[in-house]
Amino acid sequence: MSTPRDPTRDRTPAPEGTYPGVPVHEEPEGPPPWDRVVSATDRMPSTGEGPGDEFSRGGRLTGGKSTRFGDRLFRGMSVGSAAFVLVIMAAIAVFLIWKAIPALNANEANFFSYEQWFPNGTPPMFGIAALAFGTVATSILAIIIAVPIAVGVALFISNYAPIRVAQGLGYIVDLLAAVPSVVYGLWGYIYLNDHIKDTSAFLDKYFGWTVILSSNSGVGPYGRSILLASVVLAIMILPIVAAISREVFLQVPTDHKEAALALGATRWEMVRTAVLPYGRPGVISATMLGLGRALGETIAVAMVLSATFTIDWHFLSPGGNTIAANIANQFAEANDTGRGALIASGLVLFVITLIVNFAARWIIARRKEFSGAAS
């Protein structure tokens, strides 16, 4: 420890003369009177029976088991609440599976490859093929639209905007995330739908050969399409991706940036060689989190799409559906099997978003380890 000596933290006997005029303190045998108060930066000599290893965590105060009633109670409530988080996540999986099984058993069609949704019929037939297709298509299209702009915005706020206004501009972008999804749905359904028709006609005319940027007939009708849903989703996930990317870009060591500039790099070369490589894992995980949000978004998509149950690669034509939107649309008319079928589709959504989120966290965690080792 290079910091000034602190007798409450340091247990080794003070070398003579550390505190002029203060007699050298004799360390008493056994546990110290301040009992469990130990700084994390200190290493307790492991006695084999004491909780020495518990004290060696970085950066905070930790302690062993206290005998005080209040402490035990408090600790118990904290641990209980923490365990409650795990219980909820487990309960979500258990109850969704439990309530989905009867409907899945009654299902006469293949749940994964059937495109239609007739859970209320006799026999009930439903499958998530078309829904899963629409979910993935809208989300990926949204990511393709949103991520480049979000990275641009993050760079703008972290490296380009004047420092005086950067924080305020960042707040404006955060406000985008605060707008409730039902408002985006209303806006997309009533306003953006009219405007995307012209754009769709333009895209169909010049890029129709790509199939995905065309309509069924080649001349319309347009609107209430997968493209519209993707644009609305892109607007909704953009602030999320931008906020996380911005945080990562702000963490780029100033040394790296100044080194690049000192070598004569232009601002873009500095960004390309210092900021982007450092921030890449953060941007990737931000993208994954945005993808998770887009996959699970319900109301905005339910409002802007005119629901159909076919796999259609013509993204400019009205139609398409997603797992989440279908749940919102079908719920009111669902009987017992219908509800079970919707819960089954929700279970699929839960699993997909779980995988995407875990992947994103894994990338972040790996980066933490990496940068921790480097610094």
């Binding site: 609440s81 923490a82 699970g296 919102a328």
Partner: protein, 351 residues
């Protein structure tokens, strides 16, 4: 440009640069050409005009810079322009949503909207209001807050003050994963757990449970962040005075972090107040006033907007816009208040 190239560079150590007035001149040129195009046809809409102007400016700047300053600076200028553009593109939807919601929402932003329900008012009828939905939203959000905040704060205390080892890491990971939980899945969970498995009816309380699940990770994350900012010296000083651990947390750590925790709770409330999907599944919605959250269907403001927007009548859509305006005002005010709390707290801490 030709004059610039004709002049000898002032120093051999400094590369040639475009004069300061170049961007302004290029904008003027691009505007002029786009104006001609607007008259001739290709750029006759506002969007087309802006798009043409922007593209012409980008091309002109890149070409000019390439000719005078060289490829590296041309690329730098191009990227800078694109990055500024991306910010403008981001702000456009926000401005558009706000302007349209205010414009369309003002039509019904009157006292009867906040004092009457939709009981006996058909989709084709004018009038009616969102009183029932407001009552529902307020009750559901309050109950959700009452559940999520204490649990969330205790989870955060565990993670910061007690948690070590694998269990804490697992909890931390699952809090993160919970943040990404789709709201509709939270609704489906309460549906299958509370309504189908336990046999309870559709109620505002069920909606509040779903909202609490969505709010919990937000409260945990923000509280955790704030508790970590509390300096260890404060804890050590308290322990040194012989204060028990729990009392140190209650009397020293939490009061120090309180403004930050309040901010987090406000942001959490703002987030769940706008959630439609879970409420749609478990409160069922109604057009009548139901002040009892524990029995019978209840409406909520986002649900009101969703249901009114789905009706094919202009009066219903007007109601939806006003509902959306109310919702945005509520959420924005909460966000603003949260920012102000943080701001004044920071200012106080800085002194």
């Amino acid at each position: 440009m030709s004059t610039a190239t004709a002049l000898p560079p002032p120093s051999t150590l400094v590369g040639r640069k475009l004069p300061r007035w170049t961007p302004a001149a290029l904008v003027a040129g691009a505007l002029a050409i786009a104006g001609v195009l607007a008259v001739l046809g290709p750029a006759d809409s506002i969007e087309g005009f802006v798009l043409w102007t922007g593209s012409l400016f980008l091309i002109g700047q890149t070409v000019a810079s390439f000719a005078v300053e060289g490829g590296r600076h041309a690329r730098d200028r191009l990227v800078t322009s694109l990055i500024y553009t991306s910010f403008v593109i981001t702000v456009i939807p926000l401005v558009s949503v706000l302007i349209l919601t205010i414009k369309n929402g003002m039509a019904r932003f009157d006292s009867s909207f906040f004092s009457s329900s939709l009981r006996n008012i058909a989709a084709t009828n004018a009038g009616g209001g969102a009183y029932h939905a407001l009552v529902g939203t307020i009750e559901q959000v309050l109950i959700a807050t009452a559940f999520a905040v204490p649990v969330g704060i205790f989870v955060a205390i565990y993670l910061v003050e007690f948690g070590t080892g694998g269990f804490a890491r697992t909890v931390s990971t699952f809090v993160d994963v919970m943040t990404g939980l789709p709201s509709i899945v939270a609704g489906l969970f309460i549906l299958s757990f509370w309504i189908l498995a336990l046999g309870q009816g559709y109620s505002g309380f069920a909606g509040a449970l779903a909202l609490a699940i969505l709010m919990l990770p937000i409260v945990v994350r923000s509280t955790e962040e704030m508790l970590r900012l509390v300096p260890d010296a404060l804890r050590e000083a308290s322990y040194a005075l012989g204060v028990p651990r729990w009392k140190t947390i209650v009397r020293i750590v939490i009061p120090t972090a309180l403004p930050g925790i309040v901010t987090g709770v406000m942001l959490g409330v703002a987030r769940v107040a706008g959630e439609t999907a879970p409420v749609l599944l478990v409160t069922f919605g109604t057009n009548s006033i139901n002040t009892d959250p524990f029995s019978g269907p209840q409406s909520s403001l986002p649900l009101f907007v969703y249901q009114q927007a789905g009706l094919p009548n202009q009066v219903a859509i007007d109601r939806a816009w006003t509902g959306a305006l109310t919702l945005i005002l509520f959420v924005m005010l909460l966000n603003l208040a949260a920012r102000l709390v943080t701001y004044f707290w920071r200012a106080r801490m800085g002194r």
